[in-house]
């Protein structure tokens, strides 16, 4: 079926734009970048149609990549139902965001560079998704990390952007370290990295091994998907252009961790402790990120913490055994979160770069298309039935309820907070009086078009794509309880959140300040994101930097290593001083020495009988 064509299209686009883009016109860059992604999307659709029901995985082997002893790692791609969902999301949402970028990036420098990076990202993301073994997946994994770094630091003339890029890259290293260790363990225990081989031979392995692997994989997933304790990079990553935030840091790359956990479901189901850890980490992340989101004023930061929180939901779903619910939420989240970001981008675009919600307001009339599409996304994320978020969130919460009721309650409270902060941002930005100075203008069609498509998907996507049912061959469906009590409670919390937001920011605008005054300490804590960055600086970064400087540099490097090298040097000089008498500078005397050597060699060999 020529699966390789799927990632190769964007790669070709990257090469063309990357190498020749400087000389191309913007139209040509657009055509190449978007054309390649659209082609990829079409090829995905054609392939999936051609593959039929996909009950069994379809694998294609291209070439042997690494062969070492019995370990044989090929460059293989595979497609099963999980991959199919991811492929459609990545190429579909990716195409929309590419189109959106035409409008958003129209006035930015480095136009071709941006699109080249985006295409490269698509290539790596598709490689990650299509991979048939952990190593190829890791290639994609690292590749998307690289593109994320490049795109966060896209405005490389701004220090905070490059710092944010570095932060993302370095924090991800920790996760990648875990992933690498997990792969080593897998190779040692399974003798292979192929998904098929590993998952079918899981049953015979000890639970301790599997738990270790699962935990290490979880470290990797936490890094990539911004879970506690490695979530700190994602909010900073908003320094990149908004389409990047939408594509990489909301819809696709950050969900790679969820995808990986779901892909490794066979391992996780045999490691209950790790499963529990996934669920707890997910839940904790969801809750804490939501609380931080309550107090943020930067519109992109709000959505960034929201993303972290929603990723926590996905982990919760995976952790409580509802992998398909996690993936379900991944898909719907891709729709509405991409839409939120793109909408935010549209707002920022309209206001000429303003990101603080306190300087917005009353935009409802001025940019109606953006407003209405963002409302669609907001009701979807708030879990208002029958929109997309309702179905997926509900599936997760239902599974959590069956697993442990306290998880359900924390999840429900988080859902309420989610509804609150999203609508807080909406109300602040779109209602009331306009508080800014710029002159808002509606975005071009290239931006509105994708917004509308995504809005439709946010509204109808949950009902339209019943992911759990589609994934049933992989992940068995949870049994229906028929109890609609939990559903009503979670919806009620959602509405309560919306109502509270409306109360605070529409009807009684003075109320928030009073509350802030009352709970000053708490507000400060939340506003400053629980000082996590500062704590990390104090606990991890400063000791590492200081230790490197004081111990490794001045102690180990300067004293021991340099000392040893210098010692060897001075010794060599001493010996050389003796030997230099031999070096007369006269070539012929050298030749005489060589001749002497060969004669002695011949004699020795003759005496030893080496030459009979």
């Amino acid at each position: 079926m020529q699966l390789w064509l799927i990632p190769v299209f964007p790669l070709a686009g990257f090469l063309l734009n990357g190498v020749f883009g400087r000389r191309f016109s913007k139209a040509a860059v657009n055509a190449i970048a978007i054309g390649s992604v659209l082609l990829s999307f079409c090829w995905v659709v054609k392939t999936l149609l051609g593959l039929g029901d996909l009950n069994a995985a379809h694998t294609e082997q291209y070439f042997t990549w690494i062969q070492s002893g019995s370990l044989n790692i090929g460059w293989d791609f595979t497609v099963d139902r999980l991959t199919a969902v991811m492929l459609l999301v990545v190429t579909g949402v990716g195409s929309l965001i590419h189109i959106y970028s035409i409008g958003y990036m129209a006035h930015e420098g480095g136009y071709y560079r941006f699109f080249a990076y985006l295409n490269l990202f698509m290539f790596f993301m598709l490689t990650l998704v299509l991979a048939a073994n952990y190593l190829v997946m890791f290639v994609g994994w690292e590749g998307v990390g690289l593109c994320s770094y490049l795109l966060i630091g896209f405005y490389f003339d701004k220090k905070f952007a490059t710092d944010a890029g570095n932060k993302a890259f370095i924090v991800n290293r920790i996760g990648d370290f875990g992933f690498s260790l997990a792969m080593f363990l897998i190779v040692v225990n399974f003798g292979s990295l192929d998904f098929g081989t590993v998952f079918t031979s899981v049953t015979g392995k000890s639970e301790a091994t599997l738990t270790a692997i699962a935990f290490l994989l979880l470290v990797g997933a936490c890094g990539k998907s911004a879970q506690i304790p490695l979530y700190v990079w994602l909010p900073d990553a908003m320094a990149g252009p908004t389409p990047v935030s939408a594509l990489i840091h909301a819809a696709t790359m950050v969900t790679a961790g969820v995808y990986m956990v779901a892909r490794s479901a066979a391992i996780y189901t045999h490691a209950p402790a790790a499963m529990e850890a996934v669920a707890i980490i997910g839940l904790a992340t969801a809750f804490f990120a939501a609380t931080i989101g309550l107090a943020q004023n930067d519109i992109k930061k709000v959505f960034a913490y929201s993303t972290v929180s929603q990723l926590g939901y996905m982990f919760l779903g995976a952790g409580v055994g509802a992998f398909s619910a996690g993936i379900y939420h991944l898909v719907t989240h891709a729709f509405f979160k991409a839409l939120l970001f793109l909408g935010a981008g549209s707002v920022i675009h309209a206001l000429g770069g303003e990101q603080d919600v306190r300087n917005m307001g009353g935009l409802r009339k001025k940019i109606p298309w953006t407003f209405w599409t963002m409302i669609c996304a907001s009701v979807a994320i708030a879990g208002v039935p029958p929109f997309a978020g309702f179905y997926s969130k509900d599936a997760i919460l239902a599974a959590a309820d069956q697993h442990a009721p306290w998880m359900y309650w924390v999840g429900v409270i988080t859902a309420g907070m989610t509804a609150f902060y999203v609508f807080r941002a909406i109300f602040l930005a779109f209602f009331g009086e306009y508080r800014g100075k710029a002159h808002p203008h509606e975005s071009p069609l290239a931006m509105i078009g994708p917004l509308v498509v995504l809005a439709a998907l946010s509204l109808a996507g949950g009902k339209l794509f019943n992911i759990p049912e589609f994934l049933a061959p992989l992940f068995p469906l949870a049994k229906e309880t028929g109890d609609i009590g939990p559903v009503i409670i979670s919806v009620a919390f959602g509405f309560a959140g919306i109502g509270l937001a409306a109360l605070f920011y529409l009807f009684k605008p003075g109320l928030p300040d009073q509350i802030v005054a009352t709970f000053g300490g708490l507000y400060k804590l939340v506003y400053n994101k629980y000082f996590v960055d500062e704590i990390y600086d104090a606990v991890v970064v400063n000791p590492v930097v200081g230790g490197s400087r004081e111990v490794l540099w001045k102690g180990v490097d300067a004293a021991i290593i340099d000392g040893a090298v210098n010692g060897v040097g001075s010794q060599a000089r001493g010996i050389g001083g003796v030997l230099k008498r031999l070096q007369s500078g006269n070539i012929r005397s050298y030749a005489a020495w060589v001749l002497l050597g060969s004669v002695v060699l011949l004699l020795v060999m003759g005496v030893m009988g080496g030459l009979r």
Binding site: K580, Q583, S584, G585, N586, I587, R588, A591, A592, L595
Partner: protein, 103 residues
């Protein structure tokens, strides 16, 4: 068939030529002559390669000789270019005068 040539004659001829090359290298001062002595040694080695090839009834020795020739050609090109440069800078071809590596 008339009497053949003992294989060792060829090898001894090769040894003689090689020794002559070494002698040239040791005793001559002109860089170009020294260089030619090296070529003489390479030729001597080639002869022994081809003799061994005959002895073992394999073509491999020929291949080695071929590579020696190619390398000799490369060496001659670079070596003569170096000699030209040295001559341009020092106006001498005497190898004993080119000893600035000393000390």
């Amino acid at each position: 068939m008339s009497a053949g040539v003992p294989i060792s004659w060829y090898l001894i001829l090769s040894a003689v030529l090689f020794t002559l090359g070494v002698a040239g290298f040791l005793l001559r001062r002109n860089v170009i002559t020294v260089f030619m002595s090296i070529e003489l040694m390479l030729n001597a080695v080639n002869l022994s390669f081809i003799t061994f090839s005959y002895q073992l009834k394999q073509v491999n020795g020929h291949i080695f000789s071929f590579f020696v020739m190619v390398v000799a050609a490369a060496e001659a090109a670079v070596g003569l270019a170096i000699i030209l440069t040295v001559f341009k800078n020092r106006s001498t071809l005497n190898i004993d005068d080119v000893s600035s590596m000393k000390n």
